[in-house]
Structures are given as C-alpha cells and as structure tokens.
C-alpha cells in the first residue's frame, strides 16, 4: 500500500554541509500489516515516518501510495491523503490545546473534502464510549491524563476511517502501564478493524508488538 523506493532525505545545515538523514531507503508496508520500525535516536526513523506519512518530501527516490507516485500530487491532494488515508499518533499527542476532546477528535472531519458517509458526531461519541473516554468529551486536553490524551489522539486518527495509522513513539511520553494499554489498543485495531499499523520506536519491547520489524540505522534500512 505504501512503497518507498530508494528514498533519501538530506537537510541543509549550511552552504556546504548537508545532513543525510535517510540514505536510499527502500521499504514497503503492505495492507493490514502491523509493522514496527525500530532504531536508535538519530537513526533516521522519524524522517522515515515523516516521509511515509507524507508530512515531508524526499530529496530523491520515489514514494508510492496505492501505486500512485506522491511526487506527482499537488499539496492539496497530499493534504487530502493525510486527511483520509492516514491517521497519525504522535509521541507528544499533538492535540490542539484550546479544543475539547470531542472537538479534537472531530478536527479531521472539518478539513475533509470527501463526503463522509456517517454522522461524524455520532461516530465520535461511539468511539469515546468504546475507548473508555466517556465523560471527558468536553474536557480540554490539559485536564486529562497522558494515556487519555493519547487515546484521544488515536480516536482523532480513527475518525476518518483511515487505511493506515502511523504512530511515532506513541508510548514515549507515557508510563509503562498506559504505554502497554495504547499498544494493545493498536494491536486490536489491526486485528479487529484490519487497519494497517506502523509504529516507530526505539524500544525493543514496543517493537515486539509488530508482526514485522524494520531496523533503521544511520539512515539505512538494515
């Protein structure tokens, strides 16, 4: 479903120096997979995640989504893909602080250009119920625990019924109990809802949740 072919990413540090975060990576994530991408910090795994998530553009190489070249898509089309195709879960949760739990969950639907075939509010309420956040609908993110915030982030990722959930160190800011709760949640989503999951982590036991593990080191897939 997503293929990276010989993809490199370099950042310009100054006029002459470039930092090569990713060097000719070729990765494929197949539909309904649960993949872990593991590597030490600075290995380029976050860059890899940004490229897979269409948050960043590669310096060279080609990214294909459903066999479509991303380089041929406009910024608006890429935005729509992020909106409809991919759901993000970040280490920092990245909820909008001034929006309530329910508003955060509904935020992607605000930007959706495709016709949503279900009632988003109703779906959001069902998700909140299912994922044990009842009563927190109108709380602001700073009033709930980290584990709850990450669950809100997962619900925000789920509201558009994406094909792929990309989780970047989803347990990084959580205690181990909340962390394993979140990981089990992702596992369930993969097994029951058949959603493709890619988790980026530096922890072996988190990576172990994946059915396939991709190792990244020094900007290369090993």
């Amino acid at each position: 479903m997503i293929k990276l072919v010989n993809v490199s990413k370099s950042y310009k540090i100054d006029e002459e120096t470039y930092f090569h975060a990713l060097k000719g990576a070729t990765v494929e994530i197949k539909e309904k997979e649960f993949v872990s991408i593991i590597g030490p910090s600075g290995s380029g795994k976050s860059t890899l995640m940004h490229l897979i998530g269409l948050l960043d553009k590669s310096t060279s190489g080609e990214i294909l989504i459903q066999n479509k070249k991303v380089s041929s898509l406009s910024d608006d089309q890429i935005s729509s893909l992020r909106n409809e195709f991919i759901g993000f879960v970040f280490q920092q949760f990245n909820l909008v602080p001034k929006l309530t739990v329910i508003e955060n969950i509904l935020l992607p639907t605000v930007y959706s250009r495709k016709k949503i075939l279900y009632n988003p509010e109703e779906k959001a309420h069902n998700l909140i119920k299912t994922f044990g956040l009842s009563g927190k609908e109108n709380s602001f993110p700073n009033k709930i625990s980290g584990g709850q915030q990450q669950r809100v982030a997962i619900l925000r990722a789920l509201i558009m019924e994406p094909k792929l959930i990309l989780a970047d160190e989803p347990t990084g800011n959580l205690d181990s109990k909340s962390g394993s709760e979140i990981m089990n949640l992702l596992k369930q989503l993969n097994e029951k809802e058949k959603i493709t999951i890619a988790v980026i982590t530096h922890e072996k036991d988190i990576a172990a949740y994946g059915k396939r593990i991709i190792h990244v080191k020094d900007g290369k897939i090993v």
Binding site: H50, G53, L55, D56, D75, D76, S79, S80, R82, N83, E84, F88, F90, Q92, N94, L95, V96, P97, K98, L99, E103, L106, L107, P108, T109, V110, Y111, S112, P120, E121, R156, M160
Partner: protein, 400 residues
C-alpha cells in the same frame, strides 16, 4: 461540524482567552472607524442643514438681482450695488407666461421701537405674492393682500423672532404699532417660523414684510433690489430663466443683472462642504491604516504563537488554504470588532452632539464602516496568514 462555523468559533475562542489583547488590537480600528463615521455624520448633518436653509427660499423660485452676482452671493451682497429695477421691469416680467407669481423686493433698515425693546430691523417690501413664493405660513393675523398694495397701507407682517424681541411674545406683537424713520406701521400678522439664517440663506424669522408701494416712502426713485419669481411647475426652470433673461436683455446689458436659482447656490455651498468633508475623512482614514498595521503586527505574533497548532492541523489534513482562511477570518474578526465598537461609539458621539449640531448616521456610513474594517482585516491579515499557510508541517509541529 460546519467548516465556517468551526473556524469562526475558534477565532472567537482565542479572543475570549485574551480579551485585553483583542481590545487593544482593535483599538486602532475603533478610533479610525469612530473618527470616519463621526465626521461623515457631521458632514451629512451639515449638508442637510444647508439644504434645509435653502428650502426656506422656496421651491421653483428664481431671483433677479442687479449686477453680476457671485454664484454664492446671498441676499446681502446685492444691496451694495444699489437699487436698480423699477415698476417697468415688473410689468414686463409679469407678461411672461411661465412665471406663476412675481414680487419686487426692496428693503429698508432702521431702528424700531417695540414695547419691550428697541432693535435694528430690516423690512422687506414686497407684493402679496411674496408669501406664496417663499412658502410662508401665517401664525397670527393675516398676510398682505392686494388692497394693502393698492392702498399703500402702512402695515407690516413680522417674523416670529423679531416679534418676540420687540414685544415679548407673538400674541403681544399683533396690532401693535412700530415706527421706523418716523413712519408708523401697524403689525397685522406674524408668520410661522421658517428657520434659516445661515450659510447665505435669509433669516426670514427676523424680518418685517410690508407692501412694496408703501416702501416707496423711503425711496422716491421707486426702485427694487430684486425680483423673486415663482415659476410654473410644468415648465423647466432653465426655460423660465431663458425667458426672463431675454426680457431683461431688452433693457439691460448682460452684466447688469443676474438670474439666480437657489439650488445653484446650494450646489456650490454643498460642493465646498463636500470637499472639506472628504479632506477630513481622508485624514481620519490614516488612523484606519495605523489600526490595520497594528492588526498585522498582532497577527504575526499569533501565527508564531500557533505554529505548532498549524503543524498539527496540516498533519491531519488541513490544506494551505484552510490555514490561510483560518487566519484571515481571525484578522477580519479583530478588525470588525474594532469597527463595530467604533460605530457604537460614533453613535453615542452623534447622539451627544445632536443637541447643538445637526449630525446623523446614515445606512451608507454603517455599511462603509463595516465594509472598510472587513477589507482592512483581509488586507493586513493576508501576509501573516500566508506565512502560516506556508509553514512546513514537520517543522511547525516541532515548534514549541
């Protein structure tokens, strides 16, 4: 949730969180809109006041005056040129069919002694037609009639102001005697107030009116300073003007008389005040510009405060235009809040000055104030909003 509602709602929630900052940012626009609306209101009021003044001269009226009057000349100017017209002119003009009514006018000023006070007064000597031409209405007693003219009656109609000044009240003035230059007149009527008396218009309320034939007592040459004409409504005023001109040219040179239409004077005076008002409003608009720059400044701060939020929104699918729109809406809202407050203060201001100045706010200035503040919001919001829209999602999300 509805897209527009959602975006507008989030803008206002931000304002609720930082009321002081919102108010201070809007203050520039507030002052600008206040000044512009206030000045426009005063300009409009002045214009209406002037045009009311000229309405006091009556509609469908023409004046024939000796000499070449400046377009803006009022009643007073021509008396400097001396009495020029005579009964022969009157009879000739009376023959013009499109003239519905005509009166000669002569004036006499002097001390008049009333029961309460002695005042320096002016009498206009005219025919009975003058009351119709000028649209006077009688308050007490009666107007002049034809027999007063024929009999050279020593009677006067008083304006309400002078009647009050000389005799204490309008009722007291009726049937009283008043002497000017040893000629004693009887007051037979008082007219209703006509207003007027400013910007070149005559202050009829302070005049006396008498039969022109009686006026000859003071002027053995039997001359008039002016003719006032009421034209036939079915004939265009310019046609009548041409006919009068043709008749007058038979006896006089072109530069020995003027035919004045009150509306002409009105348009000149209005033109002058219009330009003055435009200049004032233009100066006041500078504060709108300054206000706009203030909004731009705060919007840049807002964009940098919300960099992370923009990153998050972009990551979950907001397009560049969605971000652009969000910030422009916020900037418009800031500006329109200022505009509305400015309008409210201007309304209070107008209400306050109305006691001594004829200001009023019309729908146009309300629409303009809101329109202009919206435009300022867009113009000064575009650059910061573009900055926000062009943020790279990854970098924006990393921003703390």
């Amino acid at each position: 949730m509805n897209y527009f509602l959602f975006i507008i709602k989030s803008a206002f929630e931000d304002f609720r969180r930082s009321k002081m900052q919102t108010f201070l940012t809007s203050l520039g626009i507030l002052i600008g809109v206040f000044a512009v609306v206030m000045l426009t209101a005063m300009g409009l009021g002045l214009k209406k006041y002037i045009s009311d003044q000229f309405d006091a001269l009556g509609k469908n009226t023409l004046f024939v005056a000796p000499g070449k009057l400046l377009e803006s000349g009022g009643f007073g100017a021509s008396s400097l040129l001396g009495n020029r017209f005579d009964l022969k002119d009157l009879n000739r003009l009376k023959r013009i069919r499109s003239i519905k009514a005509i009166t000669p006018l002569a004036s006499k000023s002097g001390e008049a002694k009333g029961t309460k006070k002695t005042e320096f007064v002016t009498i206009f000597f005219s025919s009975e037609a003058f009351f119709d031409i000028s649209g006077f209405e009688i308050d007490k007693g009666r107007f002049l009639d034809k027999s007063d003219i024929d009999k050279r009656s020593k009677v006067l109609i008083a304006g309400p102001k002078i009647a009050e000044k000389l005799f204490g009240s309008i009722n007291e003035a009726l049937d009283k005697k008043v002497s000017i230059d040893n000629v004693t007149f009887t007051i037979i009527g008082v007219i209703k107030s006509k207003g007027g008396g400013g910007f070149g218009g005559p202050d009829y309320d302070s005049y006396f009116f008498g039969p022109y034939t009686t006026g000859f007592i003071f002027d053995p040459d039997k001359k008039f300073i002016r003719f006032a004409i009421k034209t036939d409504e079915n004939v265009s005023i310019s046609t009548v003007k041409e006919e009068v001109k043709k008749e007058m040219l038979r006896r006089y040179e072109d530069d020995e008389f003027s035919i004045v239409e009150p509306t002409e004077i009105l348009s000149v005076v209005n033109g002058i005040f219009g330009i003055m008002n435009i200049v004032l409003v233009a100066i006041a608009s500078i504060s709108l510009l300054v206000g706009g720059i203030g909004i731009m400044n705060i919007m840049y701060v807002t964009v940098s405060d919300k960099t992370k939020e923009v990153g998050i929104r972009r990551a979950i699918g907001a397009r560049k235009n969605d971000i652009l729109f969000q910030f422009i809406i916020e900037s418009i809202a800031l500006s329109v809040i200022g505009g509305l407050l400015g309008l409210a203060f201007a309304a209070l201001g107008v209400f306050a000055v109305q006691k001594f100045f004829p200001a009023y706010i019309d729908v146009m200035s309300v629409a303009l104030a809101l329109g202009v503040s919206s435009v300022i919001g867009i113009v000064f919001g575009v650059l910061p909003a573009r900055k926000a829209a062009n943020l790279e999602p990854v970098e924006a999300m990393r921003y703390e």
